[in-house]
Subunit: 334 residues, 3 copies
């Protein structure tokens, strides 16, 4: 495997194989399989789980990693092409990334959406500029519109906890003090669709996912025998749900417009998941969230601390799922 950038690049079977490999490595550890292998991690944005799970995952396979954080210990890196670099950035990714790639065996890059221009973010302009100049195996640690590591971990988690393959999966918008990127909602609907589930996107007016994201996921749903639709009606959405996956994101009707988004979300304080949300759901409906999550803003303590919540398992599976990706990319036997 040379690139792990989007779950959509892999067939359902390939994903199932990756998850099987992750499970095999849990049961039969291979603590020296990546001995001498080096992973470079570049974080344009903050990280907790991604940083720790990749460093720990490499170590558990016998490899090592180094971390570069532009703007913190390392200067800012420019991603725009053809620019006159007389501003804050001291180096262009066209130099910096191939250099880092030349020191390691695989590179991971986290670079969130700019959040100003929806078309530009949908096009993954910055990530593509970077991916183009890296000639080593490359992992997307979250880009403007994708987060394949999270999606793979979530799929594995649902498999482990018995969420039916044909079950009802509700991705619900939830409250947050400010607009967040679309990466996780985009990756999540596609993952659930690709798994073959009946996917409902529950969100208030002004927060519809862009057609580009919905159409791509709808095609995946069709191929896997599932479905995808969206609604603003909470009761109807959650009736019979097997999973409520909560996520915060910015208004797409006011993309890049901080004030427009703020006005809209100011009226949406009740989009904080409480135990009542599960009234008509399937009895063992799970609560999922990729973390970090703001308690009592996006979700009530009573939900997060209940048996429904599988957020810890999702986070743990970041490590196990990523170990499968690293193994596939870097073990010499494969």
């Amino acid at each position: 495997m040379q690139r792990f950038l989007d779950l959509a690049d892999f067939s359902r079977e390939e994903i199932v194989e990756l998850i099987d490999l992750a499970r095999r490595l849990e049961q039969h550890p291979e603590p020296r399989v990546l001995a001498g292998r080096i992973l470079g991690l570049v974080f344009f944005n903050p990280s907790l789980r991604t940083l720790a799970s990749f460093q720990a995952g490499m170590a558990r396979l016998g490899g090592t990693s180094f971390v570069i954080t532009p703007g913190q210990g390392t200067w800012q890196l420019e991603t725009c092409l053809g620019t006159v670099m007389n501003g804050g950035a001291a180096e262009h990714v066209r130099e910096g990334l191939p250099v880092l790639a030349s020191y390691c065996d695989a590179l991971g890059i986290r670079a969130f959406a700019e959040g100003k221009d929806l078309a530009r973010d949908l096009a993954e302009t910055a990530f593509h500029t970077m991916a183009e100049v890296v000639d080593k195996p490359l992992i997307n640690l979250e880009s403007a519109m994708n987060h394949p590591c999270q999606a793979l971990a979530d799929w594995k988690t649902m498999d482990e906890l018995g969420v039916p393959r044909r079950g009802k999966f509700v991705l619900s918008w939830v409250q947050h003090p400010r607009a967040l990127p679309l990466a996780v909602p985009a990756a999540t609907v596609h993952m659930a669709a690709q798994r073959g589930m009946d996917v409902v996107v529950l969100r208030p007016e002004g927060y519809a996912l862009p057609p580009e994201i919905m159409d791509k996921a709808r095609a995946a749903a069709a191929a896997a025998g599932g479905s995808l639709r969206e609604t603003a009606q909470r009761d109807e959405a959650l009736a019979g749900a097997h999973v409520l996956y909560a996520k915060e994101w910015g208004s797409t009707a006011h993309y890049g417009d901080v004030e427009g988004d703020a006005t809209l979300r100011a009226r949406l304080a009740d989009w904080c998941v409480t135990p009542e949300w599960f009234a008509a759901a399937a009895p063992d409906c799970k609560f999922m969230h990729c973390l970090p999550v703001r308690r009592n803003v996006a979700v009530a303590d009573a939900v997060l601390d209940s048996a429904r919540s599988i957020v810890q398992r999702e986070a743990y599976n970041r490590m196990t799922a990523q170990m499968a990706v690293l193994h596939r990319m870097l073990s010499r036997g494969e």
Copy 2:
């Protein structure tokens, strides 16, 4: 060993055994004993010795480590329970810490006192909130009122340099531009008392250690055959002393009151240790300090650069003492 949170949790014999193990590992290194083991280090506050000594110590035992720094590379983490998280913190320790713990074999946490409410800091509210949700071996890298790694290193250092077990140990307040936490003074008096020494706390008016700290140390002194008292009289305190341990801390009479503390300390410029302080001390009286120390504010160059000063040995023993803790926690043979 599942927890290393407070030297007071261990008997004198257990501490002596830990120090023996540290010495054994110095003489007979075990460079592979922690192969495959991972230590997670979480720093809510800055670090130099703790960071480097734990990373180097794990490496010398064949293990690896990762570092998370909330507010720097990682967002801020909330420690208060039941709060509505609409402020600066993006994640609660109730999510963040169990997740990190699930990636590693042991976790170390540094979280200084808030320095606002003495009762709250004495209760170690924040540290307990965190310790409660970590189900892996846990090390206190300095909490509001404790620093067991420093205490263990200091005990080992005194043993090595022939400081008599029944010797006179003077902990003296020294000058600093601002109020610092009580963690090191609290851990130090307890350690010296537990070692069986005659302990004197020398401090100006307004800087008495809280009764909770003194009482706990006094009980340890009684059990070990030593003693504990406090005074503001420098000459009397230092007469015959075997150790002068200097430390900066904030006024307990004005705890959390920046101006009150500043007014008091403005008159205490002569609380900077000079060679004259040792006039009536034992001939080979040692100078100790946990570092970092401000030269010519807390202690004069002439003391720090003299043969009395054993601060480098204390710092080196952070690593050797912690290696014993890690070995006891993580080696599979034990």
Copy 3:
């Protein structure tokens, strides 16, 4: 090898041997030769290549490393002697560095010029204060006036790409938004002189390298059979050149005078390397730069993206050259 602080400390033969060792390690990796060895890296200034190449290089030899960044995760460290430390710095390098050295097998330190007082920077006052208290092998990761790791990597790169030993080497000043240190130009002219090349320093008026730097390099040139001169005439300088090495630095006529330097450099916008600069150069004249570089300020995209540019190879050779230094310092067999 106990110290790697200045290429000038080594004979031509010793440098050639180091480069041979670097090449041998590329062809015949020794992935366990530094097992159990620990490198401490202290960065007073930002880093990308140095950080990643040293961490990856140690890992490729089986060793490990830790990173300390004063001012970021670690408090500021004081370098002035005899000072009353009541300012921003919480610890003196006289404590901090020996402590860090006691945890590791070799230490690397990056500490740029202060850029205020030329004589003080030329004297390497801060670096010497630090080097004096470190009793472990020590590597200069870039000091006020030196960057031996870059110089060694550049020498190796020229050898590999067939740049004639007696070729013409032009170090040219190029544009930057502000004054940068003299470390790389100083190390570069000396390296090219020591290699035996005909070295020309091309720079506008006000940017002459200090006589101390030029005299030292001239002596090296004389010993190696090369030459060294300086000029402000671009055409004449570049005629027949085998290498154009571009570098930004501050005005030496206005050293430490931000406005004076800014006034001067405001008129020098045409000191951005374009393809035209190579009109009269040798046909395969190489473009070199140590990176980071500001595109279209110091050098045009058309040069950096052309076949002339060997900046990626230079950066890659940071790792390979440093691995030879680490091997020489730390492998037990040697």
